[in-house]
C-alpha cells in the first residue's frame, strides 16, 4: 500500500451521489478508500482542508493540445500541467492537429503520450472526416475500437458543411454509440467574419459572423439527430437562438448535449473595441443578450457542460493585425476562476451545479466512469478549492506554453489548492512539505 492521504475537513461536493457535507476523504493506492467524518487512519498523511471545498476533478470536453504539429504553442506535457493547475483530471483532445487525428495511429499516439505524462487522462477525440475536409469519413470504427477507445468525433475548427456527409456520419456512429460533435458554423454565411455581426462589427468596420451561421447548423444537426438517433453534442454554443434550439430539442426527447465556454458566459463583442486579437475567437463573442442566455442555459441545465475550448497560439501569430490573427484563446487555467466569479458568486449556479457542469456531466458525456464522481473503491480524481481566495490573471505565470488570453489583469475568485489524479497530487498551490 502506498502512502495514504487523508483530505480532512473539507466541504465535500459530489453531484453524482448528491453528497454536500463536511467530510474526510481517505485516498490510498490511487483510489478513494473511505468517505466519512472523523476518519483517523493510522499512518496517513493528513491534509487539513478545513474551510475548503473538495469535489471531483474537473473534466474538459474541449482542449486543443497542438501536439502533434505545433509543439511550440503547446504540447501534451505543458497542456497537462496547465490542466492540473486549473483543477482538471481529464481532458478531451480535439483532433485538429498536424497530422489530423483521423486514424487509430494518431489517436493512440496522443492517448499514449497523455498516459506517459500522467498528470491528467488525455481522451482523444477523433476527426469525423479525413483531414477535416468534410468529404470522406475518417477511420471512425477503428478509432473507437482501438486502445484509445474514441467516443467523441468532431471536425472542430469548422462545421461539417455537407448535409449528406453529416447524415451518413451520424448514422454510422449510431452503430457503436459514438458522439457526433459539431462546431456549428455555416461557412458561407460566416463568410470570413472576424467577430459577431451586429452594430459593433458595423461600427468597427470588421466583417461579421451572424448568430444565424451557428443556429442554422445547430437546427440542421438536431433534425439529423432525430432522423438517425445518433447522439449529438454541440460544441461551444454561443447564441440565445442556439440555447433555445437545444432547450426545445431536449424537451422533444432528442439525444443532444451542449457545452459553453467561460469566455462566452463572461465577455461580449465589446471586448473587440480595442481590436485586441486575443478577443478574436470562433464562435465569436456575442451580444449581452446572448451572454445572458448562455448563463441561463447553464443555470437551467439546457447547457450540460462548461468546456474551455483551450486554443493556444504563439505570440507572433496573435500580435498581428486582427484580421490576420488566428481565432482562439487559452482557458485551462482561468476556467474555474471565471465560472466561480461569473456564475457561482452572482448566484446563477450553486457549487453542486458547478461540479455538475465542469466534472460530472462532461465525464458522463465521454463515458468516463473514473471521473466526475467521488466514490469508494473508484480512482481518486479530486480537486480542492479555496472558494474565498482571489487572484489576478498573469499570463506570464501560466503553465501553458501560450499566453493568448483576453483576461490578463482580471481579478478572479477561488483558487485551486490541490489537484489529485489517480490518487497522486498533480498540482499543489503550496509545495507538499509546506502544508504539513
Amino acid at each position: 500500500m502506498t502512502q495514504a492521504r487523508l483530505f480532512a475537513g473539507a466541504r465535500v461536493i459530489d453531484p453524482a451521489s448528491g453528497r454536500d457535507e463536511v467530510s474526510d476523504v481517505l485516498v490510498a493506492d490511487g483510489v478513494v478508500q473511505a468517505v466519512g467524518r472523523g476518519l483517523e487512519p493510522a499512518g496517513a498523511e493528513v491534509i487539513d482542508l478545513d474551510g475548503a471545498l473538495l469535489g471531483p476533478g474537473l473534466v474538459d470536453l474541449h482542449t486543443h493540445l497542438r501536439e502533434p504539429g505545433r509543439e511550440d504553442e503547446e504540447d501534451i506535457a505543458s497542456a497537462s500541467a496547465a490542466a492540473a493547475a486549473g483543477g482538471y483530471t481529464a481532458l478531451c483532445a480535439m483532433p485538429n492537429t498536424d497530422p489530423v487525428a483521423d486514424s487509430a495511429a494518431v489517436v493512440e499516439k496522443v492517448w499514449a503520450r497523455g498516459h506517459s505524462v500522467g498528470l491528467v487522462d488525455v481522451i482523444p477525440a477523433g476527426a469525423l472526416s479525413r483531414g477535416l475536409r468534410g468529404v470522406e469519413m475518417a477511420d471512425l470504427g477503428e478509432m473507437a475500437r482501438g486502445r484509445a477507445q474514441v467516443r467523441l468525433f468532431t471536425d472542430d475548427g469548422h462545421g461539417v458543411q455537407d448535409t449528406l456527409f453529416a447524415r451518413r456520419a451520424m448514422e454510422y456512429l449510431s452503430g457503436f454509440d459514438g458522439i457526433y460533435a459539431e462546431h456549428c458554423e455555416d461557412a458561407s454565411l460566416a463568410g470570413g467574419g472576424q467577430m459577431h455581426e451586429g452594430e459593433r462589427s458595423m461600427a468597427l468596420g470588421l466583417r461579421g459572423i451572424p448568430a444565424e451561421a451557428e443556429e442554422l447548423m445547430a437546427a440542421r444537426d438536431i433534425a439529423l439527430a432525430r432522423l438517425t438517433g445518433c447522439r449529438l453534442h454541440l460544441l461551444h454554443i454561443s447564441t440565445a437562438g442556439t440555447v433555445d434550439l437545444v432547450r426545445r430539442a431536449k424537451a422533444e426527447g432528442v439525444v443532444v448535449t451542449a457545452e459553453a465556454t467561460p469566455h462566452h458566459f463572461t465577455l461580449t463583442d465589446a471586448a473587440l473595441e480595442g481590436y485586441d486579437p486575443n478577443a478574436k475567437v470562433n464562435p465569436p463573442l456575442r451580444t449581452e443578450s446572448d451572454r445572458v442566455a448562455v448563463v441561463a442555459g447553464l443555470a437551467d441545465g439546457t447547457i450540460d457542460a462548461i468546456a474551455t475550448d483551450h486554443a493556444p497560439h504563439a505570440i507572433e501569430e496573435k500580435e498581428v493585425e486582427l484580421v490576420l490573427a488566428p481565432p482562439g484563446l487559452v482557458g485551462l487555467e482561468t476556467a474555474l476562476g471565471l465560472a466561480v466569479t461569473e456564475l457561482v458568486d452572482p448566484g446563477h449556479l450553486g457549487w453542486g451545479d458547478l461540479f455538475e457542469r465542469m466534472a460530472a456531466a462532461p465525464a458522463r458525456i465521454l463515458g468516463l466512469s473514473d471521473h466526475g464522481r467521488i466514490a469508494v473503491g473508484r480512482p481518486a480524481n479530486l480537486v480542492a478549492i479555496d472558494s474565498q481566495a482571489s487572484w489576478t490573471v498573469e499570463p506570464a505565470a501560466f503553465l501553458s506554453r501560450s499566453r493568448n488570453t483576453p483576461f490578463a489583469g482580471r481579478r478572479l475568485r477561488s483558487r485551486v489548492l490541490w489537484t489529485v489524479h489517480d490518487g497522486s497530487v498533480t498540482f499543489a498551490a503550496e509545495p507538499l512539505g509546506a502544508a504539513l
Binding site: 455581426e197 451586429g198 452594430e199 462589427s201 458595423m202 461600427a203 468597427l204 468596420g205 470588421l206 466583417r207 480595442g274 481590436y275 507572433e316 500580435e319 498581428v320 493585425e321 486582427l322 484580421v323 490576420l324
Partner: protein, 308 residues
C-alpha cells in the same frame, strides 16, 4: 490636442472647429509664392502605407514638407521589408527606433492604427484603415462644406452607396453629426445594413426619395469586387438606381453640392456630367486636403516643445 488621431470619435465639435479654423489660415499660406513654414523643422514624419494610395499619401507628404518636417515614405510593397515577412509590429518598432515623431498609417486591416498606437511613442494618424475610418478625409470634407455653407446646423447630407465597406462613410457620419448636420444613408440594404441606424443617421433605400431635398449628395466609390460578392445585380442596375446622373442632378436644390472622395467610377456611382458640373466640388476636396492635413500636423506636433 490629441496624441493620436485614430477615429472621429475622438474629436468634439470644438476640436473640429479649431482644426478647420487653423486650416483656413494655412490655406492662405498655400497661395503665397513661398509656401513653406518652419513649424516642424527637425521633426520627422513617416508615411507608412500598406495599401496603394495616391492622393492621401501625396497630400500628407506635401503637408509635412510645407511645415518643414523631414518625410519618410514607407510602402509595404515588393521592395520593402514587409515582402521579406516582417510583421507590422516589427516594422513599427523599426520606425520607432529611427526616431520618427509621427506615423501616418494607411492599412487594409480595420483597427491597425489602434494597434500601432499601443506599440509606439510616436503620434499615430489614421490615413484610412480597412472598412473602419478615414478621419482626415472627413475633416477635409467638413472643411470643404464649411467653405460653401455657413453653418452645419440644418444641413441635409445624403451619403450614397457602399456604406457597409466604406471608411469614408463611417468618419463622415460621425463628423457631420457632431457638427450638427443631418445625415441620410442611401443605397440597397446589402450595402446599407440596418445596424448602421445605430450611428444616428436615417436610412433610405430610394435615392429619388431624397435627392431633391438634400444640400449635399456625397457619393461613395463602388468597388468592382462588390458586384462579384453579389451585393447588387450589376453596375448598370446600380447606376440606374443609385447613380447620380443628369436627371437626378437637375432635381437637386439650386445651391446643393456634389461630393466624392475619389477615385471616381464614372458611369457607376456618378455620371461624367455630374462629376464635371458646377455643383461638384470634388477637386476642391483634394486641394483642401492639403490645408487640413497641415492643420492637423501643426496642431498635433507643433504644439509639442521638443525641449520639455
Amino acid at each position: 490636442m490629441i496624441e493620436h488621431l485614430l477615429s472621429m470619435d475622438q474629436l468634439s465639435a470644438s476640436d473640429i472647429t479649431m482644426i478647420l479654423d487653423t486650416a483656413e489660415s494655412l490655406l492662405e499660406v498655400t497661395h503665397r509664392p513661398i509656401k513653406k513654414l518652419p513649424t516642424l523643422r527637425g521633426r520627422t514624419v513617416c508615411n507608412l502605407f500598406y495599401e496603394a494610395s495616391t492622393r492621401t499619401r501625396i497630400s500628407f507628404e506635401l503637408a509635412a514638407k510645407r511645415l518643414s518636417a523631414d518625410v519618410i515614405n514607407f510602402s509595404a510593397d515588393s521592395k520593402s521589408s514587409v515582402a521579406k515577412g516582417e510583421s507590422f509590429k516589427d516594422t513599427a518598432w523599426t520606425l520607432e527606433a529611427m526616431g520618427v515623431d509621427a506615423i501616418i498609417v494607411r492599412h487594409g486591416a480595420s483597427g491597425a492604427p489602434h494597434q500601432l498606437a499601443q506599440w509606439v511613442k510616436a503620434s499615430v494618424i489614421n490615413a484610412g484603415d480597412g472598412r473602419h475610418e478615414h478621419p482626415t478625409q472627413a475633416l477635409l470634407d467638413l472643411f470643404s462644406i464649411r467653405r460653401r455653407f455657413k453653418d452645419f446646423e440644418g444641413l441635409e447630407v445624403a451619403i450614397v452607396g457602399d456604406v457597409l465597406n466604406s471608411r469614408v462613410a463611417r468618419s463622415n457620419v460621425k463628423g457631420l453629426l457632431e457638427m450638427g448636420a443631418s445625415v441620410t444613408l442611401v443605397g440597397p440594404p446589402t450595402l446599407v445594413p440596418k445596424s448602421a441606424a445605430a450611428w444616428g443617421a436615417r436610412i433610405v433605400y430610394d435615392l429619388d426619395e431624397v435627392i431633391s431635398d438634400v444640400d449635399i449628395c456625397y457619393l461613395l466609390r463602388v468597388q468592382k469586387e462588390r458586384q462579384a460578392e453579389q451585393l447588387f445585380p450589376s453596375d448598370r442596375e446600380y447606376a440606374a438606381c443609385w447613380g447620380l446622373d443628369s436627371m437626378r442632378l437637375r432635381r437637386m436644390k439650386p445651391e446643393a453640392l456634389v461630393m466624392h472622395p475619389g477615385p471616381l467610377n464614372r458611369g457607376v456611382e456618378i455620371s461624367a456630367e455630374a462629376s464635371e458640373s458646377d455643383r461638384a466640388i470634388i477637386l476642391d476636396q483634394v486641394s483642401n486636403g492639403l490645408a487640413v492635413r497641415m492643420s492637423l500636423l501643426y496642431l498635433m506636433l507643433g504644439g509639442k516643445d521638443e525641449w520639455s
